[in-house]
């Protein structure tokens, strides 16, 4: 299993960067990768598609591997070597005779990253997890099989994670891991993207054949400040501008992708202020949920971007693969103009109602946090006051109207127009369908 093309650059950056790269960072309009005529969609697994590229079978044509909310890793083979857009389903990655998996029940997709961590010439992979948020190592066995996952630990036996000394077990939940040779010593160090959007480095103090991870993290900075994306920092190291130094690109909770140019040296990386390659998601004015497409509108990349950077179309330029998440109403085809008008009206009303309720809830939270700052929030007094205030909001006309009148009306109005729904309940939340697409942004 050898990675034929630019995924190698992704992993070890300037060391083996052999492809002539172009400095421009403009991307073509994204298209979704497909299986036949159907777009790849991890929606049935609650989306959070997390793409990665690796030549698993060593045939010189890289496979697309897509992690998702299920914590497993779906393999897609290209339909033909020349066509980067069409794929065939090729099962799931196997580890110890079963579907390789990490534990996820919130917020992210399993993000595979391939490397040869133990230098045995066989490709391994690592993946993040939501819980416990540590890095799982699947050692390659050489036959597209991988060993059962083990948690990577530091030289003291403590799991490698974003918060070294944890006060609470949840502190490292939802971290992201990506290999990089930070100090150009030919072994794999780890970038650790945190749930709150920061980036840390865990150095490998061992060698290319015997990894030994340091017992502390180093904060990564950009432009003299802590490197930060909105949240869910999903990093990749790749030489985006082709200057011989690997850069950092990161996905984000808001769907954006940011490029942090390496302006240091091969042994002392240093990063410029981030440049936005993909804007935060906005579709139908939503935050990625309850998207309502009418009049033939098309999807755009959603939220929670998890990315890989490879030359996916073999044109000598690094491209961007972006996995996402969103929920959207799936309307019947051939809606009449009157029906479309009804939908537009009701979705506007839903948006307005939800906004008012959210604002009321936000005020409630802000006030309780203000009145009970810091650790006072964890006192009996804060608990009692919260129960009282929350009940007042629940008893308000705004809430009663919403739950007793508006929500049932919204559901009743929308349901006849829908081709399918996410679940069978009678709440608005049950109606929109989840998606997890894989977007291909070709480099211009």
């Amino acid at each position: 299993m050898h990675c034929r093309i630019a995924c190698a650059i992704t992993l070890v950056g300037g060391l083996i960067g052999q492809i002539q790269l172009h400095a421009e960072n403009e991307l073509k309009e994204p298209v979704r990768l497909r299986v036949g005529e159907t777009v790849i969609d991890a929606g049935a697994q609650w989306g959070h598609a997390s793409p990665c590229v690796e030549d698993l079978d060593g045939d010189g044509v890289p496979e697309l591997i897509v992690g998702d909310f299920s914590g497993t890793f779906q393999i897609y083979k290209r339909a033909s070597e020349e066509n980067a857009l069409e794929h065939e389903i090729a099962g799931k990655i196997q580890a110890n005779g079963q579907d390789a998996a990490v534990r996820i029940y919130c917020c992210i997709g399993g993000q595979p990253r391939f490397l040869d961590l133990n230098g045995d010439g066989i490709r391994d992979f690592i993946s993040n997890s939501y819980d416990p948020g540590t890095c799982f190592y699947f050692e390659g066995q050489g036959t597209q099989e991988f060993a059962a996952p083990v948690e990577l630990v530091d030289k003291d036996g403590v799991p490698v994670r974003s918060t070294v000394v944890q006060d609470e077990e949840v502190q490292s939940f939802g971290s992201f891991y990506a290999p990089v040779d930070w100090d150009a010593d030919a072994d794999s160090d780890l970038l650790i993207g945190t749930f709150d959007g920061h980036l840390k480095l865990r150095l490998n103090e061992g060698t290319a054949t015997e990894y030994v991870f340091a017992d502390e993290n180093i904060d990564v900075e950009a432009d003299g400040q802590l490197l930060k994306v909105e949240a869910h920092c999903c990093p990749v190291a790749a030489d985006w501008d082709g200057d011989g130094l690997w850069d950092i690109l990161s996905g984000s909770d808001d769907g954006s992708v940011t490029w942090f140019r390496n302006i240091g040296t091969s042994t002392e990386p240093k990063f410029a202020v981030g440049e936005e390659l993909v804007k935060p998601h906005t579709d139908s004015g939503t935050s990625g949920y309850e998207i309502a497409h009418l009049n033939g509108e098309e999807f755009v990349p959603g939220i929670r971007s998890q990315i890989d950077v490879v030359d996916y179309n073999n044109d000598g330029k690094l491209d961007l693969l972006l996995g996402d998440f969103c929920t959207a109403y799936e309307f019947r085809n051939n809606l009449s103009s009157d029906e479309q008008k009804q939908i537009e009206e009701v979705t506007k009303r839903i948006e307005s109602s939800n906004k008012k309720i959210r604002e009321a809830m936000e005020v409630l939270r802000e006030e309780i946090y203000r009145d009970f700052p810091g650790d006072k929030r964890f006192t009996e007094g804060a608990d009692q006051e919260w129960q009282k205030r929350y009940q007042q909001v629940k008893d308000s006309e705004l809430f009663k109207n919403y739950y007793e009148k508006h929500e049932p009306e919204f559901v009743e109005t929308l349901r006849p127009f829908l081709k399918r729904t996410q679940s069978s309940g009678d709440k608005l939340y049950n109606l929109p369908v989840s998606h997890g697409f894989v977007w291909f942004f070709a480099r211009k």
């Binding site: 029940y105 919130c106 949920y289 309720i357 936000e362 919260w386 629940k394 709440k427």
Partner: protein, 173 residues
């Protein structure tokens, strides 16, 4: 942690003996027997309670599960679809006891998460009625409940938890 508490479940008429310890007369006259038990997790306090300690064959016994959820946190509704971890209340009842109908849920509210799914926050009390069959022999018995829930705030979720609670009840002559 099981302990004797003042009866505080809302929506339930407190028993006449609310200010007096309930005494187990058969085992140890000095030992109070709770008709309410409580357990605490990081973000949620759970109370399992019934409105009296002693019942008789043929009677109905109202049962309550009350979640007291800390500021900024929420739990999923009983009907939350996957991948949400729905709150679940599973009873293990003594012979001759049966839950008469589905749990009555309180009004759910919108999650602080932008997807707006249904959750409980603040206080949420679930009510059920246990029917004791005619002819049920007198005895000291236990109502056991395994309660599964997941606490989330607007950004993240904690691991799902299942807590086991036991409520002693006496079936009188």
């Amino acid at each position: 942690m099981v302990m004797l508490l003042t009866f505080i479940v809302s929506g339930c008429s407190p028993p006449a003996s609310v200010n007096e310890p309930v005494v187990n007369e058969t085992e140890s006259p000095q030992e109070p027997v709770p008709f309410q038990t409580e357990t605490n997790t990081n973000q949620v306090k759970i109370i399992l309670a019934c409105d009296r300690q002693q019942v008789h064959a043929g009677e109905k016994l109202p049962l309550f599960v009350k979640f007291i959820i800390r500021p900024g946190w929420e739990i999923q509704s009983l009907s939350a679809p996957p991948p949400m971890i729905a709150t679940k209340i599973e009873l293990e009842l003594p012979d001759g006891f049966a839950l008469e109908s589905e749990w009555q849920e309180p009004q759910a509210t919108l999650s602080a998460s932008p997807d707006g799914h249904s959750v409980y926050a603040g206080t949420a009390t679930f009510e059920g009625v246990v029917l004791i069959e005619e002819g049920r022999a007198a005895a000291d018995v236990e109502i056991k409940a395994d309660i599964t829930f997941q606490a989330c705030d607007e950004k993240k979720c904690l691991p799902p938890e299942t807590v086991s609670m036991v409520l002693p009840v006496r079936v009188g002559e």
